[in-house]
């Protein structure tokens, strides 16, 4: 495109077809209870996630499931207590400075809150140009401006000139999120983590933003870890999109979205799908809530299976033994004693 511009992901070596491999990640946090006591709890408990090259992987869960923590671990924003994250076959927490810098440019983040994720005192154009200037990716201001306008246009901020001199507070939530997307993709990274990118937007805007994200990803062949509690959004990425369902720090089910939607196996997945709002008044009585009670705080995980205190199918063994994530057919894994 322009002389000197690094296509950050064009030289990324793909090992085993995966851009990112997070293996056996365990993240333990400690909180203070009272004056002297400290309680430890595992926000993420021995979880492995693989993001194949050029694809979208969904991480589904509610708050407290550990999905955001896991996403941040793959971005090296949080250091896990155990486990490793491999990029190009090397553990990101044990890389040399040069290797880590290459990884850093290739792993970007689109956070959830369009209001808190952009510096309020910087103009949108300046924020984007700053990124290019800092990494010396453009030879002149004019060249940087061209690249920035191009990215902004693709992100749906049209015409770019209108948005260059605006501050975040002058934009709507949807426009801010587009600016966030532009910022994450201007370095053309190989891997992006989007944490609930459309949750705080109006329902009618969600599909539009996801379309923009999908088109931009496709153009630069990047991979995306899409974290959300709205499982239906992953449909926009195709029937073969891999999704992982998390609950209280563990993956309870994984597979491609077509299979999971048509035949959910784990009781928690079934509950999630039954709870999705459907634009059809006739369906209101047919979908009953099946889980009892409310999700406990991550500090009070039940013994045995994480869902054992709420599951309608709970058996004795569920309260004692934690079921392992097993592959029951090709590409489908469940952690449930019903299928052991």
């Amino acid at each position: 495109m322009h002389a000197g511009f690094i296509y950050a992901n064009s030289e990324v070596k793909i090992v085993d077809n995966n851009v990112i491999e997070a293996k056996n990640i365990k993240v333990v946090f400690s909180v203070r209870k009272g004056l002297l006591k400290r309680i430890k709890f595992a926000a993420v408990d021995k979880v492995s996630v693989y993001v194949p090259r050029g694809s979208v992987v969904g991480l589904i869960g509610e708050s407290g499931s550990g999905k955001t923590t896991l996403g941040k671990v793959t971005l090296a924003l949080i250091k896990p207590t155990n486990g490793e994250v491999l990029f190009q076959g090397k553990n990101i927490f044990k890389m040399s400075e040069k290797e880590f810098r290459y990884y850093r440019l290739n792993a970007q983040y689109i956070p959830q809150d369009p209001y808190a994720s952009i510096h309020p005192f910087k103009k949108i154009g300046d924020i984007l140009i700053d990124v290019l200037k800092y990494h010396r990716l453009a030879n002149s201001y004019k060249e940087a401006l061209e690249i920035v306008k191009d990215v902004m246009g693709k992100a749906g901020l049209n015409p770019p000139e209108k948005y260059l001199d605006k501050y975040p507070f002058q934009l709507s939530g949807g426009e801010r999120q587009r600016a966030s997307i532009a910022r994450a993709l201007i370095l053309r990274p190989a891997y992006i983590v989007a944490d609930e990118p459309v949750t705080m937007l109006d329902a009618s805007l969600k599909s539009s933003i996801i379309k923009t994200l999908r088109d931009m990803l496709y153009e630069i062949h990047s991979s995306l870890l899409f974290i959300t509690h709205e499982i239906s959004l992953l449909q926009f990425f195709g029937r073969n999109t891999l999704i992982n369902v998390m609950y209280l720090g563990k993956i309870v089910e994984s597979g491609c979205i077509n299979d999971i939607l048509s035949e959910p196996l784990h009781p928690y997945t079934k509950a999630l799908i039954a709870a999705i709002p459907i634009a059809d008044p006739k369906s209101r009585e047919t979908r009953k809530l099946i889980l009892k009670g409310i999700a406990p705080s991550p500090l009070n995980r039940p013994g045995g299976c994480v869902l054992s205190d709420r599951c309608p199918y709970a058996m004795d063994i569920c309260r004692k033994e934690e079921p392992i994530l097993k592959e029951i057919e090709s590409g489908r894994r469940v952690a449930c004693n019903l299928y052991a």
Partner: protein, 305 residues
């Protein structure tokens, strides 16, 4: 691009300052003082005539002689009071500004680094900050000034340094607290993934976020420095000089008996009013700093909302 942004900034500043009578007034006061200081430094203001002792010359009432310098009468050295006061502006402003700059620079730097890096750096810096907080600033300044050799007592840099010797500590505390809470925000996470170094995050992202607060702190630090400087002189710790406002007050009470008779009353009140006007103007300007540095407020000013 530079010219148009300068022009729009000037337009913005004038809009902000013409919003209410108090800000117009403050702007006028500061402009007058700055002009006076510059004029003195550039030599446009006449030097003080030689001192004359004796009751026929000191604390004379106002006269039209040599207009306008004798309209406040004479001071304890028989010299024109107004001239002495005007000549004192530059030193006071210089000491105040320098002291504020030192205070804010050290305070912000320590607070930012301590809050952002955390860990052992934070522990060490916090100890330093806490010790500095417990030292009574003014007492320390008094002692230091009292023990200085005479040549250094009039050195602007030294005075500024002494006045800010522990003043930075409470600012460091506040900046550290703000940094600690900002550290967790999402735009800092993104700054990290964009590959920005810790220094850039501290001194560009976080610092910029606190810009209104820092601008305000700078102005308020100037206020404190003016008080400190005047106080040192009023307590008799500075070498006697007509141009020092605090000395004028000191001498008006000591030598002029201003607390008991009317003779030196002008010499007592003129420097006081000069100082009060300056502080009032500075404080008003501190308030408007928020509007100047916060784009959200800025835009609403321009729209006239």
């Amino acid at each position: 691009m530079s010219l148009s942004t300068t022009l729009s900034t000037l337009r913005l500043v004038s809009r902000i300052y013409t919003k209410s009578p108090s800000t117009i007034f403050s702007l006028i006061v500061i402009t007058l003082y700055t002009v006076g200081a510059l004029a003195t430094v550039l030599g446009l203001v006449p030097p003080l005539p030689p001192a004359k002792g004796g009751w026929e010359y000191i604390y004379q009432p106002p006269s039209a002689r040599d207009f306008p310098w004798y309209i406040l009468g004479t001071d304890f050295t028989g010299r024109p009071l107004l001239l002495a006061i005007v000549r004192g502006i530059s030193t006071t402003l210089a000491v105040a500004f320098l002291s504020a700059v030192i205070t804010v620079t050290i305070g912000v730097a320590l607070g930012l680094i301590s809050g952002y890096l955390g860990g052992i750096v934070d522990e060490i810096f916090s100890i330093i900050i806490n010790v500095a907080l417990t030292i009574p600033t003014y007492l320390l300044a008094l002692i230091l000034v009292a023990t200085l050799p005479a040549e250094l007592k009039t050195n602007i840099l030294v005075l500024a340094g002494i006045l800010s010797i522990t003043a930075w500590a409470s600012l460091a505390r506040a900046v550290r607290a703000q940094t600690l809470s900002l550290r967790k925000r999402e735009f800092i996470d993104v700054a990290k993934t964009l590959g920005f170094s810790a220094w850039k995050i501290m001194f560009d992202e976080i610092l910029r976020f606190m810009a209104p607060f820092i601008a305000m702190s700078l102005t308020l630090a100037m206020c404190n420095a003016v008080y400190g400087y005047t106080g040192l002189a009023f307590l008799g710790l500075m070498p006697i000089s007509s141009e020092n406002w605090g000395i004028q007050i000191y001498m008006a009470i000591r030598a002029g008996g201003a607390l008991y008779s009317d003779r030196a009353i002008l010499a007592l009140w003129s420097p006081i009013i000069t100082i009060v006007l300056l502080q009032y103007a500075l404080i008003n300007i501190a308030k408007t700093m928020e509007a100047i540095f916060n784009p959200a407020l800025r835009v609403s000013y321009i729209k006239g909302e």
